[in-house]
Subunit: 250 residues, 2 copies
């Protein structure tokens, strides 16, 4: 990613929960589902909108699901071991794992909530590709270029509670680089790269109910510097996952 | 903190950058500065608004600053060692430290950006108290009860880029507990506690320029379940900092 000067921030950002989305099934067309739900809300996509969509519905639509061996709550353990490329820590039933994408998260992202009993949702095979396909489909049908962020819910060390983070993105820079900018007093900024995609994911979670079936949101009003040039490659795996060699905790 | 059932999420959230705030100096009245800036914007505080304010201006107003020994970029090292209670990792000039509040962050929060040359900003002595004082001052002057979150910019392991997180809060639950909730399919949720204060901090950073002198924002429209009962104690240090005994990375 080229270093990008951060332009002026927007005055106002809107975060809009997309309501009225029912259960999502394998093969479902997420772009169509979003556009239909927006229609019911008398809302349309605008250039510069970012669509946020949870991993859960992406995995369901892509069929990234697995059958559990019975209803035993531990029956997902073999799945976790299959999905993880490395185990960083263990505590009881919790495995802190690295996935093949490079994400570090609990239980390799294998998730039993909001799926039918006896099933588990896995992470999408390539969440950046999932985001790109949805962005392309939305542009194809509406003519409007929007960003798409696929989110999941991760814990973190040192702080209690989970937050939503980005696991895939398209049409939005994952990280906006402030290197070379100066602060308001003309001093070169020490803090450089802002994980914009993660901040968008966190903002969207404030209107996306885990229990309330609001699996998509729009974030409207992001600064121009958050958006890539037409031929600029962006992605969470390439831009936001820290390489093990620069990581103090792997 | 009592477990709290998560109510319905709001349909729409607004994140509003507060513009027109100049340099902040020791002894300045942040509540007054905010109200004046909002007046210029033809904006007023509403019940349920959350005011987000960066650590930098809180530290400046409280005089949590230190003189550096000359202009050598390394001259903050003795300060970092004084402010840290523990060093978790070192790499070159970067110390990953634990502060006396329990925060794990780079260089014990000692920050040279957006301060005058020769000076460094330290973390506020008690950021939860800073938030409470500002919330009380705002209520005293406007009659409106709002939440206040003090934010700082932290890196994290495994993921590139920094995000803003909460280091102090008042009038807003740091963590909202979903234990006992069921998901949309009636299955008990596995993921339980959402770090709402951190998600609010991240959302606000999208309109708060590090280089653009927008050190405050309003987040408007959070779910009722994010707000504490009148006599409920909330705080980042008490509720959001993970105790070392439950931390896999200390």
């Amino acid at each position: 990613m080229e270093p990008v000067k951060h332009g002026p921030k927007p005055a106002r950002l809107e975060v809009i929960g997309v309501t009225g989305i029912g259960e999502v099934h394998r093969g479902d067309d997420l772009a169509g589902i979003l556009l239909e739900a927006l229609g019911e809300m008398d809302e349309v996509l605008r250039p510069g909108d970012v669509v946020v969509v949870t991993q859960k519905v992406v995995s369901k639509a892509e069929g990234a699901m697995a059958q559990l061996d019975g209803d035993d709550p531990r029956s997902h353990k073999p799945l976790v071991e299959r999905e993880a490329v490395r185990v960083l820590r263990r505590r009881g039933d919790l495995l802190l794992t690295e996935t093949r994408h490079g994400f570090v998260c609990a239980n390799a992202g294998v998730d039993l909530s909001n799926v039918e009993r006896g099933q588990a949702a896995l992470l999408p095979e390539d969440p950046d590709r999932s985001a790109r396909r949805m962005a392309d489909a939305l542009q194809g049908r509406t003519g409007t270029r929007v960003g798409v962020v696929v989110t999941d819910t991760f814990g973190r060390p040192w702080r209690r509670g989970v937050t939503d983070v980005a696991i895939g993105c398209a049409g939005l820079r994952a990280v906006v680089d402030l290197r070379g900018s100066t602060d308001a007093l003309g001093r070169e900024l020490q803090v450089t790269e802002v994980a914009v995609a993660d901040e968008v994911a966190a903002a969207a979670d404030l209107v996306m109910g885990k229990a309330d079936a609001v699996p998509m949101a729009l974030v409207r009003g992001l600064a121009d510097s958050c958006f890539p040039e037409p031929d600029e490659k962006v992605g969470i795996v390439s831009d936001l996952v820290r390489h093990p060699s620069e990581d103090l905790f792997r």
